[in-house]
Amino acid sequence: MQRAFVTALLVGVLCSAMGTYVVLRKLAFIGDGIAHASFAGIVIAYLRGADYYIGAGIVAILTALGIGFVHRRGRVALDTAIGVLFTGAFALGIFLMSRQRTYSIDLQSFLFGDILSVNHQDVLMIVALALFVAFVTILLWRALLYTSFDPVVAQASGMNAQFVEYVLLVLLALTIIISLQAVGIVLVAALLVTPAAAAYQLTTRFSRMMGISALLGAISGVGGLYLSYFLRSSSGATIVLLATILFFIAIGGKQVKTALGR
């Protein structure tokens, strides 16, 4: 149970903090796509007896870079490319799994998350990857900020906007991978977008937006897990629902603030 709370806290904070970039760069669909595509990696890793993190990680990173490439070079619209590639990868995962006689992977736990199944090793992996993502984000803080607001001018002044975008996509892929066990493939995109979208309503400064988003993510993660225990509900779904409620409170709060301001 303690492991589940640590995981919920880490995943809540990391997803929501990175979600700031997802919301500001309008990458929500990409997050959803990476999560679905990584399912193929999970199944392949399982069939080969390899570690889940390695299988899902490789597929997620490759697809993240793939989209980055389509985004930059492709003549296909980005949302079309994602729609085609990721549903295809997701279908491949289901196809491979359905050919197994014995259904020993629990499909539901990957689709909707099963935070209580997180073991000691998983926690260590989650902590290590979360620290890595945080470290790279801090290192590239200025470049990520400038290229999020104005990639063209950042590029003209000598920053490599393209490289920064690829790095960000890889960081997002890692963030998604460590969140899958907690909230599942279907709901991870919500945790990337919802707290950051709520924070976006509440502040006009970038670093504050990230801070508020991380706080809302932490509340959603820990609070949602706690509630799910009492309500005997799915932990992933409860976490996301709590984040959604916080989002609507934030919108309501902003309306009240502007109404009072006038």
Partner: protein
């Protein structure tokens, strides 16, 4: 230190740039000396923005060369070129104040590890001061008028302390006061030796703005001092041509 700075700061030679199937620039050549402010005029679609983007290293030419201080633009160290695009290109609801955006101008030189220090703060202040935006430093960027947004971009470019300044129609949608402030900034920077390339649609008082003028329509039709270019008739001819052409297009559209 960064390559030799000779008598040309920017050298564009026989530049051809294509987008998909249409040719935006078809053999344009321009050179800019240090301390010289050059104005680029020409009708819509004449390649003004394309020329600026090519000098900024944002485009890959089909053929021809661009060199800035003797190097390819992308080989320059960070912070050398400051580019002021047309304002509509960014998301103005981004969570940032005027100060935050102008401070971004310091990022290329600071890189990953250098601290944002006293000198950086002073550069931001100076940028804001020059465009008369100091009072609005703490305002969120969504609360700015079009002219103020333009000034923020100019302030950011100045705060960068670049060696080359490129501006794309910075006077569009700007009031007369801002326009005059901008003109003074440009003259002051040029007087201190900075090369400046600026596109504009407005020829009024051009000789107060620019040392030389380029008339562009996919290639350079005329280049010289403002008086020389006006006397050559290239601009007037182009203007007449464009007017007729534009009218014809509109007519077609109505059908």
């Amino acid at each position: 230190m960064n390559g030799q700075i000779g008598s040309t700061a920017v050298a564009v030679h026989d530049l051809v740039v294509c987008y998909d199937n249409h040719v935006a620039l078809d053999g344009a050549s321009v050179s800019v000396a240090p301390g010289e402010a050059i104005g680029i005029v020409g009708p819509n679609g004449s390649g003004k923005s394309t020329l600026l983007k090519a000098i900024a290293g944002l485009l890959t030419p089909y053929s021809g060369t661009v060199s800035v201080f003797g190097k390819s633009p992308r080989a320059l160290s960070a912070g050398v070129i400051a580019y002021v695009p047309q304002v509509e290109d960014v998301d103005w609801s981004f969570p940032a104040t005027v100060w935050d955006v102008v401070a971004m101008g310091r990022f290329p030189r600071l890189g990953m590890f250098r601290r944002f220090g006293k000198h950086d703060r002073a550069a931001v202040e100076r940028g804001l001061e020059l465009v008369n935006m100091r009072d609005l430093a703490q305002r969120h960027i969504s609360a700015l008028s079009g002219g103020q947004q333009q000034r923020v971009f100019v302030a950011r470019a100045i705060a960068q302390e670049p060696k080359l300044l490129l501006l794309d129609e910075p006077t569009t949608g700007v009031d007369a006061k801002t326009e005059e402030a901008l003109r003074k900034v440009i003259r002051e920077l040029a007087a201190r030796g900075m090369p400046i390339v600026m596109s504009t649609h407005n020829l009024e008082r051009a000789s107060d703005w620019f040392d030389r003028l380029v008339v562009l329509n996919r290639r350079v039709l005329a280049i010289g001092t403002v008086d020389e270019v006006l006397a050559s008739g290239a601009y007037a001819q182009l203007h007449g041509h464009v007017h007729v052409h534009g009218h014809g297009e509109r007519h077609q559209h109505d059908e």
